[in-house]
C-alpha cells in the first residue's frame, strides 16, 4: 500500500511538473533583422487559477549541457502582438514569444555578451510560479544570422513597385498626348503676384522651409523657385531667396542661375540674391521678419516644410501688405498659412505645383500616375471597409504597415 501511495504521489508530482513546464519551446533566428537576435517561442500555459502570474526567464548557453546564463528581454508577449512576424492565425493567441540579443557574462556578471551570428546557442525557458517554484523547459538550439530581406516590408515594396510602374507608364503616355490638370488657385495667382512686385518696383522674397534637400517638400519648393526665378528674370524684378540649409542654398543658386540663363537674362543674376540667413529655426525667423519690415517685398513666397516659425513669417508678411503665397505639406502649420496668406498650396498641391507650372510631360505624367494610384487606394479603402464589415479582414492585413 505504501509503495502504491508513493507511486501515485510520484506520478502526480511528475504530472504537475510537466503541467507547469513550458511546452512547445522553439528557438530560431529572428526573421527580418540584421542578425544578433534569437526568437524563442513556447505555448501559452493551459488555463488554471494564477496562470497570469507565471513569470518567465530565458537562459542561454554555448553548450547543450550548460552552463546557462541569464538574459534580459522586455516581456513575453503573445505572438498575436507581432502579426508582422507571426501572421494573424488563431494559434498566435496560444503562443508566447520573446527575443534575446544578449546574455550575462559569466566572468563579469553585470556585463552582457551579445549574441553572435553563425554560432549555435542552447536555450531554455524557465517558468516561475508565484509559489516560488521554477520549471525549466527542454533545451533547444538556434543560430542567429543576417536576413537579406525584411519580409514584413513586402507590401511596401510591392506598392512602391506598382506605383512606380503606373507613374512610368503615365509619363510615357504624357509624352504622346497632352494631359489635363485642374486649376490650382494658388499657382494661378503666382504670375499676378510677381507682376504686382514688378509694378511696385519692389523685390520678391522667396523663403525656403527648414528641411534639407532630401525631403519631398524642399524638392517641390526648388521646382517652384525655378518658375519664380524664370518669371522675375523676364519681368526684371529683384528676387531674394532666403535659405536655412547650405545644401538647399547651393541647389537654389544653381536653379536660379539656370532660370535666368533660360530666360535670356544671365546678366541679371546675382549670386547674392540667393543667400543663407541662419541655420537655427528662430534666428531664421527673426532675421526674415527683420528683412520683411526693412525691404518691404511686394510678394512673399514661402515654400517647403515649416515649423513653428510659419506664423511669425506669415504674420509679418501680412503686416507689411505683401501678397503672400505659401505652400507646405506640414499639416500642423497649414492653418497658420491659410489664415494669414492670400493663397496656400495645401500638402500635395505643393508637389503638383511643379507639374502645373512647367507643363512638362514628365511631371504631368507623374501627376497623372499619382492620381491613378490615389484612385486605386480609394477603391481598396472602400472595398476593404466593406469586407471588414462582413468579417473578412484580409485586405486590411495586406495594407498594414509593419
Amino acid at each position: 500500500m505504501r509503495y502504491f501511495l508513493c507511486c501515485i504521489t510520484l506520478v502526480l508530482y511528475t504530472a504537475q511538473v510537466h503541467a507547469q513546464q513550458p511546452t512547445g519551446v522553439k528557438a530560431e533566428d529572428t526573421p527580418n533583422d540584421s542578425g544578433g537576435n534569437i526568437t524563442v517561442t513556447w505555448d501559452y500555459p493551459k488555463p488554471y487559477e494564477g496562470v497570469e502570474q507565471i513569470k518567465y526567464t530565458i537562459v542561454v548557453g554555448e553548450s547543450e549541457n550548460g552552463p546557462f546564463h541569464g538574459t534580459k528581454f522586455s516581456a513575453a508577449n503573445l505572438q498575436s502582438s507581432d502579426p508582422g512576424t507571426f501572421g494573424y492565425g488563431e494559434e498566435t493567441f496560444q503562443k508566447l514569444f520573446a527575443r534575446v540579443d544578449e546574455y550575462t557574462d559569466p566572468t563579469d556578471p553585470p556585463k552582457r555578451i551579445a549574441i553572435e551570428n553563425g554560432k549555435t546557442y542552447y536555450v531554455q525557458v524557465i517558468a516561475h510560479l508565484p509559489s516560488g517554484e521554477s520549471f525549466p523547459s527542454a533545451t533547444v538550439s538556434a543560430e542567429a544570422y543576417e536576413n537579406f530581406f525584411n519580409r514584413t516590408k513586402t507590401n511596401n515594396f510591392v506598392i512602391g513597385t506598382i506605383f512606380s510602374l503606373i507613374i512610368l507608364i503615365s509619363i510615357f503616355l504624357a509624352q504622346k498626348r497632352e494631359l489635363f490638370i485642374r486649376r490650382i488657385a494658388g499657382l494661378e495667382a503666382l504670375d499676378e503676384a510677381l507682376g504686382r512686385a514688378t509694378e511696385m518696383g519692389k523685390p520678391v522674397l522667396f523663403a525656403h522651409g527648414l528641411t534639407s534637400m532630401g525631403t519631398v517638400s524642399t524638392i517641390a519648393a526648388v521646382n517652384v523657385l525655378s518658375r519664380v526665378a524664370n518669371r522675375t528674370a523676364e519681368f526684371n524684378t529683384e528676387l531674394r531667396v532666403a535659405n536655412n540649409d547650405p545644401v538647399v542654398m547651393a541647389v537654389s543658386q544653381e536653379v536660379v542661375k539656370e532660370s535666368y540663363l533660360n530666360a535670356g537674362r544671365p546678366d541679371a543674376y546675382s549670386e547674392d540674391s540667393v543667400f543663407m540667413v541662419a541655420t537655427e529655426q528662430f534666428s531664421y525667423a527673426a532675421a526674415l521678419d527683420g528683412m520683411m519690415v526693412r525691404d518691404r517685398p511686394a510678394t512673399n513666397i514661402m515654400m517647403g516644410y515649416f515649423f513653428a516659425e510659419s506664423l511669425l513669417l506669415a504674420e509679418t508678411g501680412a503686416s507689411i501688405g505683401a501678397i503672400q503665397i505659401a505652400g507646405t505639406d506640414s499639416y500642423t502649420q497649414l492653418p497658420f498659412f491659410i489664415t494669414t496668406c492670400d493663397y496656400t498650396l495645401m500638402g500635395e498641391e505643393l508637389y503638383a505645383a511643379s507639374a502645373y507650372l512647367s507643363r512638362e510631360p514628365k511631371l504631368l505624367g507623374s501627376l497623372k500616375g499619382q492620381d491613378i494610384g490615389k484612385a486605386a487606394l480609394l477603391i481598396v479603402m472602400i472595398l476593404g471597409t466593406l469586407l471588414a464589415t462582413l468579417g473578412i479582414q484580409t485586405l486590411t492585413h495586406i495594407f498594414t504597415a509593419y
Binding site: G160, R182, M213, V216, S283, A286, A401
Partner: protein, 242 residues
C-alpha cells in the same frame, strides 16, 4: 526728436533704472547668474519690441541671435561631426585601417565646397548634390509609403457597426475619401466629384481649425513661460501676482 526716439530713450532709461535697483537691492546677484538674467531679460524685451515696430533694439537682438546661432552651429558641427567623425578617425588610420572608407563622404563634402570655386571645378559639387538628393529620395519613398499610405489605410479599413465607434469609423472613411477626391488633379471638380471635393475641403478646414486652436494653446504656454521668467526671475516678483 520723433516719437519713436522718445519711446526708445524712455524704454532704455526704465530698463536701466530697474536693473540698477535690482542689482543695488540684491534681488539680482552681482555675479554671472545675475548678469545672465539681466542679459536674457534685455534680449527678451528687445525681441518683443518688434510688436511695436522695427527698431534698433530688435535689430541688435536679431543680429546677435543669428550670430550666436551660426557660432553655435559651427561649434556643434566641428565637435560632433568634423572632429568626431572625420579628423579623429582619419588621424588614427595606422591603428584602424577600416576608417579609410571615411574618405568617400569627406570627398563628397569637399565637392560641395567647389560651388565656391570657378566653373572649372564647380561641376564636382553636382556629384555630391546628386548623391544627397538621390539618397534622400531613396530613403523617403519606402518611409512615405509606410507612413502616408499603409499607416492611413489600415485604421480606415475597419468593420463599421451600428455603434458610436462605428459612426466614428464611418465619418473617418467619408473624410479620407472626400479629402482624397479633393487632391485629384486630372479631373475637373464639377458634378459629383465637385460635391465630394467640397465635403473634403470642409473636413480639411475643420481639422485645420482644431489644429490651429491646439497650437495657439501651446504658443500661449510658451508666452506664459517667458512672462514668468521676466516677472519671477528678473523682477523677482512673487507669483501669482493676484
Amino acid at each position: 526728436m520723433s516719437r519713436d526716439h522718445i519711446i526708445f530713450i524712455v524704454f532704455l532709461f526704465i530698463f536701466a533704472t530697474i536693473n540698477i535697483y535690482l542689482f543695488g537691492s540684491g534681488n539680482l546677484s552681482a555675479d554671472w547668474t545675475g548678469f545672465g538674467t539681466f542679459i536674457a531679460a534685455g534680449i527678451t524685451l528687445s525681441l518683443y519690441s518688434f510688436l511695436y515696430k522695427d527698431n534698433p533694439l530688435f535689430k541688435f537682438a536679431e543680429n546677435l541671435y543669428v550670430g550666436v546661432a551660426a557660432a553655435y552651429t559651427l561649434n556643434q558641427i566641428w565637435y560632433t561631426v568634423l572632429l568626431a567623425d572625420v579628423v579623429n578617425p582619419l588621424s588614427e588610420l595606422e591603428e584602424n585601417l577600416s576608417n579609410l572608407w571615411l574618405i568617400v563622404p569627406t570627398l563628397l563634402g569637399l565637392f560641395m565646397l567647389t560651388q565656391l570655386s570657378s566653373a572649372k571645378f564647380s561641376w564636382l559639387s553636382r556629384i555630391a548634390f546628386a548623391f544627397v538628393v538621390g539618397l534622400g529620395a531613396g530613403l523617403a519613398i519606402p518611409r512615405t509609403i509606410a507612413a502616408n499610405v499603409l499607416a492611413q489605410l489600415e485604421p480606415t479599413m475597419q468593420p463599421i457597426a451600428a455603434t458610436w465607434v462605428g459612426l466614428d469609423l464611418f465619418i473617418i472613411l467619408v473624410g479620407v475619401v472626400t479629402v482624397l477626391v479633393y487632391f485629384f488633379y486630372s479631373v475637373e471638380h464639377t458634378g459629383p466629384v465637385g460635391v465630394a471635393s467640397k465635403i473634403g475641403i470642409w473636413f480639411l478646414m475643420i481639422s485645420f481649425g482644431a489644429s490651429f486652436g491646439y497650437t495657439i494653446m501651446a504658443r500661449l504656454s510658451l508666452l506664459i513661460g517667458r512672462v514668468g521668467f521676466l516677472l519671477e526671475d528678473w523682477l523677482v516678483l512673487p507669483l501669482p501676482l493676484f
